[in-house]
């Protein structure tokens, strides 16, 4: 009898939370609904083929990332590779029109935002990391009711996550642009096409809007997690010796 009653009590408690969600409950539900905290915690790497479109132009590429903060984006334009990468120490890029044929260290402002990335979700062990979360209330996003959650990173930077109030997955992330003439303007990243990869639900489609206008759309394919990714993959290659161009007649 006592057992039954206590179960009822617990149920009632959880229901009383119905109308007073806390940030922790939302995060807990999010983890539960997308594969479980343990799985998120255990993730070590991701890899995916992506198609990104900007103002109607599309580029394909591959993105690799590895805990705690390594990442690499390779884009293929007409068979020519362009790269942005960070190996945990050096942010570098290859963009022939700018860098020439050899990879170069990234300009400081670009590098800063690359190096600040963390592989792990800000919600995983957030308190231990020095992040704080705060539920700001409800807001409508794309016609869907959401919980607006403020995430303040240890470094003071603020992002807002908007969790669908039915499914408890984020459908939008808002954060200010950090550099350039639009510094301080909010960019909204909309998440959808959640699909399962080895037991984790991940958003396969993101659309970035700035001031309500689409800046970029990214579609992911062939997502793999927890692959062995060699650290060398992320490191800036040593300069290759290149032969001088032959300066042939151009007509």
């Amino acid at each position: 009898m006592w057992k039954k009653l206590s179960f009822l009590f617990v149920t009632l408690l959880s229901i009383s939370a119905l109308h007073g969600q806390t940030a922790d409950e939302i995060i807990k539900s999010y983890f539960e609904n997308t594969g479980g905290y343990e799985k998120w915690k255990a993730m070590t790497s991701q890899q995916a083929t992506v198609t990104t479109s900007m103002q109607g132009m599309e580029f394909s590429g591959t993105v690799y990332s590895k805990a705690p903060n390594k990442m690499k984006i390779e884009v293929d334009v007409m068979g020519t590779k362009m790269i942005q990468a960070y190996d945990g120490e050096t942010a570098w890029w290859l963009f022939p029109m700018q860098t020439g044929p050899d990879p170069q260290p990234m300009p400081a402002e670009m590098a800063e935002s690359m190096t600040e990335q963390e592989f792990e979700l800000p919600f995983v062990d957030y308190a231990k990391k020095g992040n704080t979360v705060e539920l700001m209330g409800k807001e409508e996003v794309e016609g869907t009711e959401t919980f607006k959650m403020k995430v303040t990173k240890k470094n003071g930077k603020v992002q807002y996550y908007f969790f669908d109030t039915e499914y408890f997955v984020p459908i939008m992330i808002q954060a200010p642009i950090e550099n350039g003439p639009a510094k301080g303007q909010n960019a909204e990243t909309y998440l959808s096409d959640y699909q399962e990869v080895d037991g984790l639900m991940l958003p396969f489609f993101t659309e970035v809007k700035v001031g309500g206008q689409t800046a970029q759309k990214i579609t992911m394919k062939d997502v793999k997690i927890n692959q062995e990714l060699d650290d060398k993959l992320f490191a800036m290659p040593k300069k290759e010796a290149t032969a001088p161009a032959s300066g042939k007649d151009k007509n």
């Binding site: 119905l18 984006i73 942005q84 670009m110 954060a175 950090e178 096409d193 639900m201």
Partner: protein, 1086 residues
């Protein structure tokens, strides 16, 4: 096949419960507690979601910019600038003015003061409600604060102050702030005076208050002792027909020495008698020296005063015209931060004295008149900014010369119109900035230089004659109408004059001109009488008696102004303000007056009926702002009324279906702000647009319910709007943010209750006219010029979804004649989604190259042909189908035969680029495998090495693998073909004979190279493979054409072929975007 979670795998338990359902009891409880929420889920998307899919387009202009009331710059960081516009919100630059972006779109756009916290520059205070109180001034909604440089704003109170003239933040304590509330302009109200907070704005104390008619026009602080402040209290009142500066005589200059607890007047040496508006300038470098602009009873006592003892005594130092002119507009005085002898004063022109105010010179030449704010750079006071009626100007030589900032699209339109050109042009008149027109679309965007002036003065109504293409009607204030010929550049003034026995004509400041919707040669013009002209204004016929109240007490413009007569026609009253002929019956004409009468004739002016008394709940003398006779029914009309000039800010919108006999109030459910304009849709009578002081509202049910249109449409006064009948665009004239266009309102027309219940609904759309690529357009202008965006050239696939798509795949496929052309990301929002379909196919797969032009050359795919295209929308397991059509521009000079040839040759070259890409790929694969073959028998190894060398040699003939992508690079066949592809594909007409000849030659070269590669891959490789087989090694293989084409190698692109330079810049911009931070990881890692 992996199992994919479908939505039902996700725990979904009502709106609030995070935990899985574990038993029946829990279920029942959830059901009982959450019933209303469960029901709510079947609801259609909110109006906000429905409208959210449409995006407004702000085309400026910034050519003449608009009135700026306040400028603030971060001390020591002159590149961080905030501009507070009179009606266009707050704009921020972090680049010294080369670029600006609006940071205050969610709030009232009328700005009184922007103040930066001196000890915490990311904290900025904005007081809304312009304090330069001209007749057309907008209203504010209180005090706002940001602590992160404008990203987020919080309302900090004083919501009912209407206007905030000044804000002083304590120099070292961010929690202490003084706010000067000028208060209500049009009525008595107690929320005015000086307010102080000591807790960062949480609570406020009114520390200086005179009475409900006297507000604080200016405050200033002593630079050495922050407990010493000065406040200019101003008693004033505007009425619709008059202005009174000085009003009840309570104006005065006050001083506190204890942080606002006690105040005393400091008038020693100031004029006795009634005072008007005063402006205070304490020298930042020496608190003893204060300058004061004074409005008083006697003309000779007006002017600039100076104190050298902290305000204890005053001495008049100047009566210069600009020290006395229009104090309500120009009272601002600013002292050089480095030198207390240098003082500047706002005026019709800005003036500057370098000798303590004794002698003044005018600052600048070519600077717009009417100066409201002046900023001196504290680090270099020769660096000066001026805020004017025409934007912001910057000087580096202490005001000798100025450069205008051409990137602030804060223009204040009174009215807007469109013509029937393709693309259509937009016309309108602006506050103090004349009349202008520009195309709604232009190759490279709508530049400042695309705006043409069609008359001067303050501009109001401006129209192109519907059939006489060179004629534009424009006007300036007080009923001065002109007929401008855009071909000759000459203007003829055409206003009517009274005959001998007629009373003087009274024209409103903003006198109505109306073009008949039924007869292109008929136009109306309103004074107190209504006039009609059938000869383009050369002669006028009066078709009404005096339609106003003709109240003599309200016809004293010449006496208006209070202490300073201000006879500018701005207070002309008892005039007709709006005119509208029914598009369904030219006998039905409506006229509304500024003194609140709504008049109707049903016999083209033969007789008139005053229907005002039939309008229920409308206070007397409420200004009639807009009449929209229904485009569907001659008996019906929507009318807006505006009472804000009587202190009544309610939204008044009424509808009649019986020629004004009965009226229904329809603006109650949703809209905020006094009503300025209304349009009923031309197709769907239930679709109604309402412009108020706080933005655009849309109703889908004839006015019962409204939602604000928020996507790129700030809370700006929408003074006028027009629906373009063929472009299906809503074009708005806003008083502070220029022209704003919603390019395609057709989806809104189709919305119905039934449609809202559908899961997916595709909206029909007109064929998309293919835009031929434009050469020319932008050049290297650097930053600093505003360019209005164009509407999209892409085909639009538009659909409604009743719920947002969050789980599982959703995308679109575009098919042509059974062939899949491309896939597109889908819009996922509940409500209306627009998916842009580029009207070009994927760019060709190409061999790698280190040649810049080759890289740029093949970056675009060829244009699609005109015709019908099928669309499949794949959402989870379901597929929904629709189609769209592309059409050639009938006005274009290219014949179908030329287009056909161009397309054919483009596709030939496209195929050649891909053929080479395949050859390169195959050779590269083979070479790679050959290179790995080691330690074979010497003879076999020799054959392998020989083939590898041959393969490499052929590969290098395909494309350039050397160079720096610029001046040290080579070219091979791929580069030559790519370049020709670029040339031929980017011109929509017939390729040149030289190009065709070149194509033949390159085809020959390709054939030769192909044969060479075939020999290697088909013959010699087969031979080598035999040897390898004998050595027990795997055969060397390469992909089939099919495998290669399926691969990701070439990637894809979209968009119409614009200038390749733009593509390059886009690519560059994209690569410069640290994808990792801003965008990419959101998707990839989270």
């Amino acid at each position: 096949m992996k199992k994919i979670f479908l939505p039902q795998n996700i725990v979904r338990v009502g709106k609030h419960k995070p935990y899985p359902l574990t038993n029946l009891l829990a279920f029942l409880l959830v059901f009982l507690l959450g019933l209303s929420d469960l029901q709510a889920q079947s609801k259609a998307p909110s109006g906000k979601a429905l409208l959210g899919g449409l995006r407004a387009r702000q085309i400026g202009p910034a050519a003449m910019s608009g009135r700026v009331s306040s400028v603030a710059v971060v001390p020591g960081q002159a590149e961080i600038i905030y501009v507070g516009a009179a009606g266009g919100g707050v704009w921020k630059s972090v680049t010294g003015g080369t670029t600006f972006r609006p940071v205050f779109d969610d709030h009232s756009q009328s700005i009184g003061k922007v103040a930066i916290d001196p000890s915490e520059p990311e904290t900025v205070w904005v007081g809304t409600g312009e304090p330069w109180v001209r007749n057309s001034v907008s209203v504010g909604t209180g005090l706002y604060k940001t602590t992160n440089g404008g990203t987020d704003w919080q309302l900090m109170g004083l919501e009912n102050s209407e206007r905030i003239s000044d804000i002083i933040v304590h120099p070292t304590n961010s929690d202490i702030v003084y706010v000067a509330a000028l208060g209500h302009l049009w009525d008595a109200h107690e929320e005015r005076g000086v307010f102080k907070t000591t807790d960062g704005g949480k609570t406020w104390t009114k520390v200086l208050y005179i009475d409900e008619n006297t507000g604080c026009a200016d405050i200033d602080i002593d630079p050495e002792n922050p407990d010493i402040l000065y406040a200019a209290m101003w008693s004033h009142r505007r009425r619709p027909w008059t202005f009174d500066s000085g009003f009840n005589g309570k104006s005065g200059l006050y001083k506190t020495t204890d942080g606002g607890s006690n105040w005393e007047t400091i008038h020693e040496g100031l004029p006795t008698g009634k005072l008007g508006r005063l402006g205070i300038g304490v020298a930042p470098s020496n608190g003893k020296v204060i300058y004061l602009s004074v409005e008083s009873e006697k003309q000779e006592e007006k002017g600039l005063y100076r104190s050298t003892d902290q305000g204890a005594n005053w001495e008049q130092v100047s009566t210069d015209f600009n020290t006395t002119v229009r104090p309500f507009y120009f009272s601002n005085v600013v002292v050089d931060p480095q030198n207390d002898s240098i003082v500047a004063k706002c005026g019709l022109a800005a003036i500057l004295s370098e000798d303590q105010g004794n002698r003044f010179r005018t600052m600048g030449g070519g600077v717009h008149s009417d100066i409201h704010d002046i900023w001196f750079d504290p680090a270099n006071s020769k660096h000066i900014l001026l805020a004017t009626d025409g934007g912001v100007y910057e000087s580096f030589d202490r005001g000798q010369t100025f450069r205008m900032w051409m990137n602030l699209p804060i223009s204040q339109f009174y009215h807007v119109s469109v013509d029937n050109d393709f693309p259509y042009n937009v016309y309108g008149g602006l506050q103090d900035n004349g009349s202008w027109y520009a195309p709604s679309r232009k190759s490279g965007g709508i530049n400042n230089s695309d705006w043409k002036s069609s008359f001067g003065g303050d501009g109001f109504y401006s129209f192109r004659h519907p059939t006489q293409k060179d004629i534009i009607f424009s006007e300036y204030q007080g009923g001065n109408l002109a007929r401008y010929n855009s071909k000759t550049g000459q203007a003829k003034e055409i206003k009517p004059y009274p005959t001998g026995d007629e009373e003087k004509f009274r024209f409103n400041w903003n006198a109505p001109v109306h073009l008949s919707p039924t007869n292109p040669n008929r136009m109306y013009f309103g004074a107190q009488y209504l006039f009609v002209s059938n000869d383009m204004g050369d002669s006028w016929k009066r078709i009404s008696p005096d339609l106003t109240t003709d109240d003599p007490e309200k016809q004293k413009q010449h006496l208006s102004g209070g202490l300073s007569i201000d006879n500018s026609t701005a207070e002309n009253h008892c005039t007709i303000y709006t005119i509208a002929e029914s598009p369904k019956n030219d006998q039905v004409i409506w006229a509304g007056t500024d003194d609140g009468l709504l008049q109707l004739t049903t016999n083209a002016g033969g007789s008139w009926t005053n229907v005002t008394a039939n309008v229920p709940g409308l206070p007397a003398n409420t200004w009639v702002t807009f009449i929209e006779p229904s485009p569907h029914d001659a008996n019906a009309a929507y009318v807006t009324f505006d009472g804000h000039r009587n202190g009544d800010g309610k939204t008044y919108l009424y509808y009649t279906a019986d020629q004004g006999k009965t009226w229904k109030s329809v603006g109650e459910n949703g809209p905020e702000g006094y009503a300025l304009s209304v349009r009923q849709d031309l197709v769907n009578p239930n679709l109604v647009f309402l412009g108020t002081e706080f933005g655009l509202y849309v109703s889908l049910d004839g006015g019962e319910n409204w939602d604000r249109f928020e996507n790129n449409l700030p809370k700006v006064g929408v003074r006028d709007m027009v629906i373009h009948s063929t472009a299906n665009a809503l074009v708005m004239g806003t008083h502070g943010r220029g022209i704003i266009i919603i390019d395609d309102i057709s989806p809104l027309r189709a919305i119905s209750e039934e449609l809202l219940q559908e899961k997916i609904h595709f909206f029909a759309s007109a064929p998309t006219v293919l835009r031929d690529p434009g050469a020319g357009g932008g050049w290297f202008g650097g930053s600093g010029n505003f360019v209005g965006p164009n509407p999209t050239t892409n085909a639009q696939i538009v659909y409604y979804m009743n719920r947002r798509h969050t789980f599982g795949k959703m995308y679109l496929e575009v098919w042509k004649d059974g062939e899949l052309l491309r896939t597109l990301p889908a819009g996922k929002s509940a409500g209306i989604n627009f998916v842009s379909m580029p009207t070009a196919i994927d760019k060709p797969k190409a061999a790698p190259s280190k040649n810049r032009m080759a890289l740029i050359g093949a970056i675009s795919g060829p244009n699609l042909e005109a015709g019908k295209y099928d669309v499949k929308l794949i959402k989870g397991k379901n597929t929904y189908e629709t189609s769209f059509e592309l059409a050639y521009d009938e006005e274009s000079p290219y014949s179908p035969a030329d287009r056909k040839l161009q397309h054919e040759k483009t596709m030939t070259l496209y195929g050649m680029v891909e053929k080479l890409a395949y050859l390169y790929h195959s050779l590269d694969q083979v070479q790679g495998q050959l290179a790995k073959q080691e330690d074979l028998k010497r003879k076999v190894q020799a054959k392998v090495d020989e083939l590898e060398e041959a393969v490499q040699a052929t590969k290098y003939k395909i494309s350039s693998q050397e160079g720096d992508y610029y001046v040290n690079e080579s070219e091979q066949l791929h580069e030559r073909i790519s370049d020709l592809y670029r040339q031929v594909s980017s011109f929509p007409g017939k390729p040149s004979s030289s190009q065709l000849q070149r194509l033949d030659l390159l085809q020959g070269e390709l054939k030769t190279l192909n044969a060479e590669a075939d020999a290697l891959l088909q013959e010699q490789l087969v031979e080598v493979n035999k040897w390898l087989a004998k050595a027990d090694r795997d055969a060397i293989t390469f992909s089939s054409v099919e495998e290669f084409m399926k691969g990701e190698g070439g990637s894809s692109q979209g968009s119409y072929q614009q200038l390749r330079v733009e593509k390059k810049e886009l690519l560059r911009g994209w690569m410069h975007t640290p994808l990792g931070s801003t965008y990419f990881l959101h998707s990839f890692m989270k």
